[in-house]
Assembly symmetry: C2
Homo-oligomer: 199 residues x 2
């Protein structure tokens, strides 16, 4: 249900087409919740069938149709119900830590490559989230600006504060992963030194 909630969250800022939403998912929100276009269009259809959104159909050329989705009252309520409901957690399924637990079975160089890839991956994620944070602080994230435009001015501080809070959490997680993998590289070096001394 999180894809649905993410779509509603975006559409509550203002009506958008599937294509517009897809662009958002490849930028800002996409760094918190990823969704492919092949998932977005069918989900919007389903949400329209369930009355959470309505499609305003615009003709495009001879046969083409562009559908601008608007959130209905039911959709608004569904989003708020999700926001006010207790969170659901998935069971842990962490491929990197699973592999780390058996790193003695890997070639030392493969172990190092893995840890360097981990650092690279999380460094990239961190740069995305730090980038988002900079846009939040500078108030030049288009979605946030639109969001503030439809928000009571007394709620601006809160709106900004929670965006910042969310991205700071993700950034902290990325930094923790990077530090862990760096510690891992030191561990590999230390253990390999130990082995070569004994041999």
């Amino acid at each position: 249900m999180s894809l649905r909630s993410a779509l509603l969250a975006l559409l509550r800022v203002g009506p958008m087409s599937g294509y517009d939403l897809q662009k958002q998912f490849s930028q800002s929100v996409g760094h918190v919740w990823h969704a492919a276009d092949s998932q977005i269009y069918p989900e919007l259809r389903k949400m329209a069938n369930e009355g959470l959104v309505v499609a305003e159909e615009q003709p495009r050329g001879e046969r083409g149709v562009r559908r601008i989705y608007h959130v209905t009252d039911a959709g608004d309520q569904a989003f708020l119900a999700w926001m006010n409901s207790p969170p659901e957690y998935q069971r842990t399924r962490d491929a990197a830590h699973l592999r780390a637990a058996y790193l003695e079975s890997a070639e030392p160089d493969a172990a190092r490559s893995f840890l360097r890839a981990h650092i690279e991956h999380w460094t990239y994620e961190l740069s995305c989230w730090d980038g988002e944070l900079a846009h939040i602080e500078a108030l030049d994230n288009p979605m946030l600006v639109n969001r503030l435009r439809v928000t009571d001015e007394r709620d601006h501080e809160r709106t900004i504060a929670y965006k910042r809070f969310a991205y700071e959490g993700l950034a902290a997680r990325a930094r923790s992963e990077i530090a862990w993998a760096q510690h891992g590289l030191e561990t590999v070096d230390r253990l390999e030194r130990g082995r070569s001394e004994r041999s």
Copy 2:
């Protein structure tokens, strides 16, 4: 492919039945990679069809059969190939941080409940991982003890060090999530104070 790798990692320590594996997945390994029994049995069948494991069939009563799975050479190679291959990362899909980004839409009490649930969830995970770490340090984790029994003594230090490394990373992540949610609770209080002062 990670479920498969986790199963091979466990079976490399020693042959086991689906039921034995399932118990492991509800304990130690299960806190890194979760798998349900309804997933384990079919996966073992598929792995047997592909020659990664062989089932030693033991009769159980009149009609019952107990299958003890052994890793084949092909299975061993598949595991090592996975260990030496570059990791694959899934795109971010983080329901908690998605929700956090829109917390201004939640009732303040629902926001607090959400953050407290987050703390509770990660505190539980942390206790599992700290527990595993204690078993690693005390050398009383049965799987680790069996693992060491089939491992050259010169590799004992590395085997233990990587287990510790993996669980320390998970524990660090849990602590980071808890600190983040605690900061969130302070943020909610600060923002709500601001609102009540203005009203």
